[in-house]
Symmetry: C2
Subunit: 245 residues, 2 copies
């Protein structure tokens, strides 16, 4: 059973997220159905991690064991053909070592959170950004974000349903920058807790509108209490950008 590494782009709108679920269509189900049509037998596609309902990916990574070997371009084109009309595509497929595991081998995950920060609502970027009409103080957001970088107990920014064994994680990077009409929050870590990026984004918005000071953010982190955190930013602004191995 040759193993392949897959790089996947998707529009999460209307999907229940990465993982197969009984209550709706997932990225995993779309890919597994396309693979089955291509290979003629069922396969399991193993992702680097779950993304929530509505979250997008520019380069999710997964691995799959196929019943026989194919040229990588054939896999990419055949799966993309069979995945239509869903907004899920393989950007690439590559032969992988038998011990390559998309989840366990990952060293770093990069997420981007996009805020459209202007008064008029989005048109062309609807469903792609979180619309915040109040001007954001990006310098204050970036400075406060540095409080969250490093090894911390992130209970304040963790969904109460999160199943991770420990709330302690190391956040390697959390940068806030303006990009034209948008504000981008870019986060890097080996792994994240459930809703962690969206919960950090919701709290950083509080800093950006001067509802919170940097010290309020620090107090929220140190409280280790989800009720002390800001709101969960909507899924539609979040992108899994890269998984590094």
């Amino acid at each position: 059973m040759p193993r392949y590494r897959l790089t996947i782009e998707y529009d999460g709108t209307g999907l229940v997220g990465w993982q197969r679920q009984p209550n709706g269509l997932s990225v995993q189900e779309i890919l597994e159905t396309a693979f089955e049509r291509f290979c003629g037998e069922p396969v399991t596609v193993w992702g680097s991690g779950r993304t929530d309902a509505g979250v997008h990916a520019l380069a999710q990574v997964a691995h799959v064991d196929l019943p026989r070997a194919y040229p990588p371009e054939t896999i990419r084109d055949a799966v993309n053909f069979h995945a239509r009309p869903h907004a899920v595509v393989l950007l690439g497929a590559a032969e992988a070592a038998p011990d390559f595991d998309a989840r366990r081998s990952a060293r770093l995950r990069r997420y981007r959170y996009r805020i459209l920060n202007r008064r008029p609502p989005p048109t062309l970027e609807a469903g792609r950004v979180w619309h915040v009409g109040t001007p954001l103080d990006v310098a204050a957001m970036h400075e406060a974000a540095q409080i969250l970088v490093g090894r911390h107990d992130f209970t304040t920014f963790r969904d109460t349903l999160c199943q991770a064994k420990s709330p302690v994680k190391t956040l390697d990077r959390l940068d806030v920058s303006r990009r034209g009409e948008e504000v981008w929050i870019e986060a890097e870590a080996r792994s994240f807790l459930h809703h962690q990026v969206r919960n950090m984004a919701g709290s950083l918005k509080f800093v950006g509108i001067h509802r919170w000071s940097a010290e309020d953010l620090r107090a929220a982190l140190e409280a280790r209490d989800r009720r002390r955190g800001g709101p969960t930013a909507p899924a539609e602004g979040l992108y899994l950008v890269e998984v590094v191995y």
Copy 2:
């Protein structure tokens, strides 16, 4: 009747274009309905020019005469409120001189045509780009494009239904460049013929896949015959980017 200049962004998907028509919803109708809800009486919104069905705008310009004066921010926010849930927004409104005419006063129009040039189909950019799976020779496209710059009879690139009095236009700029996975065609002129940018884009694609040489493009231009031109590129890749006064 104070006159205002409007800057408008829209997602053209599903709309019949700028101009009000009996067969479907137009940008003009969405805006005029929103203005009427705001002002309490009917007004006409005059655009800088028509955009076709499905074409997008990053900054269309229009003028409107209102029954009384309002602060520009009030106009913007009220019209955006009443235009919901359509993907048409005022980016701004500004007081204008009584002789400002969005169409006649325009000195330059800028369009962008976006091609997604990669093998996998679009997901997040679906409806926003023309998908061309064959690698495009961008240098050859740009070089050939320069043949079209200047004052020419553009009959070859003009829709057979075009109502302009003359097919002679001056094209000031036609640049082709690669932007990551995309290829952008950027066109500037005082005015364009019907479908001119999309027809030029379809012909430049022929150059990009080496179906046509630069000399073939020149021969097509000089033939002054629409049947000698390339296909009309789809509306979904075209953006009205700017109107200069």
